[in-house]
């Protein structure tokens, strides 16, 4: 593959790397797994890049490859210690004014999202990224109606997890 292509790929990915970090954040629960998944997504993005025609935004294209890798291709390594202790895996929060009750609530919310299944996480991820139902349904391969139905169920499920 030519150098120019490689260069433009790495540059674009470097610019949009937070999208990959965000996918990893939802689908993994420790730092090692985060790094592993990040690497696998990068590999898959690079493999798919020659077919990227630029008819969609690079970031939109990244969502699809990233989620596909997290949901279908990525294999959790056995050597890794599996833990549900999400608290132990937190990135530094930028120094900002934070309401401590809100922070506590957010922590509970992120923990609740971690308890969802892979497909539900994808829905939440796309919702958090402010994607409309048309894009959500196209990314997952389900109808828009089903995407809405599932989203409502996810909302209810989150409520149940938070208030058992």
């Amino acid at each position: 593959m030519n150098k120019e292509l490689e260069h433009s790929f790495v540059e674009q990915l470097q610019k949009h790397q937070n999208i990959v970090h965000k996918v990893c954040r939802l689908y993994t629960n420790n730092q090692d797994a985060h790094n592993d998944l990040f690497q696998e997504i990068t590999i898959q993005l690079w493999r798919a890049y020659p077919k990227f025609r630029g008819d969609s935004k690079f970031s939109t294209w990244m969502y699809r490859v990233g989620l596909n890798t997290a949901i279908t291709l990525y294999r959790k390594s056995k050597r890794r210690i599996q833990t549900d202790d999400f608290d132990a895996y937190q990135f530094k929060i930028k120094a900002e004014e934070y309401d401590s009750t809100e922070e506590e609530q957010l922590k509970l919310l992120y923990n609740a999202v971690h308890q969802l299944n892979d497909i539900e996480k994808a829905l939440v991820f796309l919702y958090l990224e402010d994607k409309d139902y048309r894009e959500i349904s196209a990314t997952l391969g389900i109808t828009e109606v089903n995407a809405r139905v599932k989203m409502n169920r996810v909302k209810k499920k989150l409520k149940t997890i938070l208030n058992p």
């Binding site: 965000k22 990068t42 590999i43 993005l45």
Partner: protein, 204 residues
């Protein structure tokens, strides 16, 4: 406020400081070796393909010790075009796997790939079963002094015992290999099957 709305507000505020990867780090990562499920399926199918081919290549050597009937020989040559079809299908399936498809389509393609591997394994097992049955029968009869001598002295009980032993040994061989196959793919595709079921459930 809706829980998800609160989460969205935080998510979009982008308050998390992720490690900023450099150009070189991303470059190296994109050239690293993948450990994706597709790669594993590909490796396993290659091994299975190799074993199948090995069985056929070893066949003439066994033939030297045991004289197989003509139809078995013809059958073993007839397997070559079938294997060629499988090679083509393997190639076509892997070509079709693309990460830019929807999640549902991607899972479907991967599961189709696995089905081809499964059919190939079944084909090999059936062939192994036929060769094993015939080989065991001829092997036993030869040690008893040849087919004519065995047929002349054998009664129903001998035929039945031989038949049962051959079937049991063949079944054990097939079960062993199928067990390994089942276990391997069961573990590998657990997550994929679960996610596919989850998406299918939405259609009901």
């Amino acid at each position: 406020m809706d829980e998800l709305e609160l989460l969205k507000k935080d998510w979009q505020r982008d308050t998390i400081e992720y490690p900023e990867l450099t150009y070189d780090e991303i470059y190296n990562m994109s050239h690293a070796k993948s450990s994706s499920i597709v790669k594993w399926i590909f490796y396993i199918s290659l091994i299975e393909f190799g074993i199948g081919l090995l069985l056929i290549l070893l066949n003439p050597k066994i033939e030297g010790q045991i004289e197989f009937p003509k139809w078995i020989e013809i059958l073993s040559y007839a397997t070559f075009p079938v294997i060629a079809v499988f090679v083509y299908l393997f190639y076509k399936n892997y070509k079709n796997i693309t990460t830019t498809d929807s999640v549902r389509k991607l899972i479907k393609t991967i599961l189709k790939t696995r089905r081809t591997v499964k059919n190939y394994v079944l084909f090999n097992l059936v062939m192994a079963g036929i060769f094993s049955c015939v080989g065991l029968y001829i092997g036993y009869v030869t040690t008893e002094g040849g087919a004519e001598k065995f047929n002349a002295s054998a009664h129903f009980a001998e035929y039945a015992t031989l038949g049962i032993v051959i079937v049991l040994i063949t079944a054990a061989i097939i079960a062993f290999f199928y067990g390994i196959y089942y276990l391997l793919y069961g573990i590998l595709l657990k997550r994929l099957n679960r996610n596919y079921k989850e998406l299918k459930k939405l259609e009901v």
